[in-house]
């Protein structure tokens, strides 16, 4: 074999091995979590609130709490992120756009606990109590820059010719953006939104300072709120074997939830044309 073929073979093998390694690691983690978690999984685990050691109990309130926190954070973070990202790609070529882009990039790099402390100081200390709203706010702050930057990149990928086609038909700029460019970029924008959802659903640190956690079912936004991650944390740091199993089971539920949301969003934003 000549040099070129040998190089080709080596590089192909190397990249394939790397890909295999990563996927294998992922499968290993997922199967280990399933193996550890499945034994404690039951209907009562999914609906009950936490109870003292040995008395059973579950994460029902934490699942509801996580979904409420996530729902509120998404309702604020995703539209705002898409709006800012659209602004950056369509009109953000000046100095103001440069600053906004820089701020967003910086925010992506900030450790999530900082957002927790920030909201703790700004909201929790002022109000004097932990609350769902404070928790959602800290999650939204994490989501906004992620959605912003992915939206901007995805909109930039829409070919110029498509915009020109619409402009040439007499469409004003805002209509071109709203009903040609954004729909064309929708799959990518949804992927960015999903990334941010998966990211904050797995956040613990900011919630410790803001939503705090709760042992009860709760729907009031001005009260502390349970979440799966904080519940996993509490179960996991305990000295009890029983609670460790519950932490595994809760982790399995969390991952399944993220996967389900992911598949669902991909389905509804799939390319139709």
């Amino acid at each position: 074999m000549d040099q070129r073929r040998i190089t080709n073979l080596i590089m192909t093998t190397l990249t394939a091995a790397c890909a295999f390694g990563v996927v294998a690691l992922l499968i290993l983690i997922l199967s280990y979590i399933s193996y550890q978690g499945i034994s404690s999984l039951s209907l009562s685990f999914l609906v009950e609130t936490p109870k003292p050691v040995g008395e059973g109990g579950g994460i029902g309130n934490a699942i509801v709490g996580s979904l409420i926190l996530l729902g509120l954070a998404s309702a604020v973070g995703i539209p705002l992120g898409i709006a800012i990202g659209t602004y950056l790609s369509e009109m953000g070529s000046g100095w103001y756009g440069t600053i906004v882009r820089f701020v967003a990039d910086t925010m992506i790099g900030i450790p999530s606990i900082i957002f927790g402390v920030f909201v703790y100081v700004i909201v929790v200390l002022q109000q004097g109590y932990f609350s769902t709203l404070a928790g959602s706010l800290s999650l939204a702050l994490i989501m906004i820059p992620i959605v912003t930057r992915t939206t901007e990149e995805m909109i930039r990928l829409v070919p110029k010719s498509m915009r020109e086609g619409a402009l040439a038909l007499g469409a004003p700029e805002w209509r071109v953006t709203m009903n040609i460019v954004i729909p064309a970029a929708m799959t990518g924008i949804a992927t960015g939104a999903m990334l941010s959802v998966a990211r904050v659903l797995g956040e613990t640190a900011p919630l410790l300072f803001t939503a705090f956690g709760s042992r009860f079912y709760n729907i009031y936004l001005d009260e502390p709120m349970a979440s799966m991650t904080v519940q996993i944390y509490n179960y996991a740091i305990s000295p009890f074997e029983d609670w460790h199993d519950k932490a595994w089971a809760a982790t399995l539920v969390l991952i399944t939830l993220i996967l389900t949301i992911n598949i669902f969003v991909r389905y509804i934003t799939r390319k139709k044309y």
């Binding site: 498509m162 402009l167 040439a168 040609i180």
Partner: protein, 257 residues
């Protein structure tokens, strides 16, 4: 033959065009007549596409672009400060070099311009207009059974005719074509050319082409551009047999370009 002044659709006088400091068009004056096909030919980078895009102010999308001189359509200066660019683009349709259908169904592609300009009275009227546009673009028979499917499922030539249908749907008076067949195979090209000849009955057509045979086949008059200057404009027949300028003859006979 009527009065020549009544037949002028587009009149360009002393047009200079700049991208920033670089001048792309030099002092161009030419008239486009009502319901003629005029072809712009010339080597790459000679400014023929830039010139074409001054007719519907597509160059406005480039921030550093600037035009001076005048372009009038039906006697109205389209570079006047109070010009409604949206209305202008409705009147002056455009077909691009690369077909650029929207990520929508075939029907919605054609309906887009009708909808944004609110041309239709109701749903039924919209459907009629879409059908007519597709029919006029010689595409109806090929797509009538799959109007709700993706426009990307069409072949290259069909996509280009879809883009023509989309332009026709808003009832323009002028159609600008920027090398509409340059990415198509000979059979698809032939269909587009036949279409151009057919469309001439109702529309004024300005077509940019690299293909001199194409210019000869479809156009009534031809304008030859070189380095941003209009070298010569003449009836196509004369242009290809007995041009005024030596430069034109050299280009047409393939001595450069």
């Amino acid at each position: 033959m009527g009065n020549i002044f009544e037949m002028i659709k587009i009149s360009v006088s002393n047009l200079n065009f700049f991208y920033g400091k670089a001048q792309a068009l030099f002092d161009i004056s030419v008239d486009v007549l009502e319901k003629e096909v005029i072809a712009f030919i010339g080597p790459s980078g000679c400014g023929k596409s830039t010139f074409l895009r001054t007719f519907n102010r597509m160059n406005d999308t480039i921030p550093i672009a600037r035009a001076d001189g005048s372009v009038t359509i039906d006697g109205t200066d389209i570079y006047a400060p109070n010009t409604d660019v949206v209305a202008l683009r409705r009147k002056v349709g455009m077909v691009f070099q690369k077909s650029n259908p929207f990520p929508k169904s075939i029907f919605d592609n054609v309906a887009y311009g009708i909808r944004i300009n609110r041309i239709h009275k109701d749903k039924a009227d919209l459907a009629v207009r879409v059908e007519k546009a597709l029919y006029d673009a010689a595409l109806w028979d090929e797509v009538k059974d799959r109007l709700q499917t993706s426009a990307f499922g069409l072949s290259g030539g069909q996509q280009q005719r879809l883009c023509i249908a989309r332009a026709l749907a808003v009832q323009p008076e002028v159609i600008l074509m920027d090398e509409p067949a340059s990415a198509l195979d000979p059979i698809a090209t032939q269909k587009i050319e036949e279409l151009v000849v057919e469309l001439k009955k109702k529309y004024t057509i300005v077509i940019v082409t690299h293909n001199m045979q194409q210019a000869a086949r479809v156009s009534d008059r031809t304008a030859f551009f070189m380095l941003g200057k209009l070298v010569e404009v003449n009836p196509t027949q004369k242009m290809f047999t007995n041009p005024n300028e030596k430069l034109t003859e050299d280009y047409i006979t393939g001595r450069f370009g």
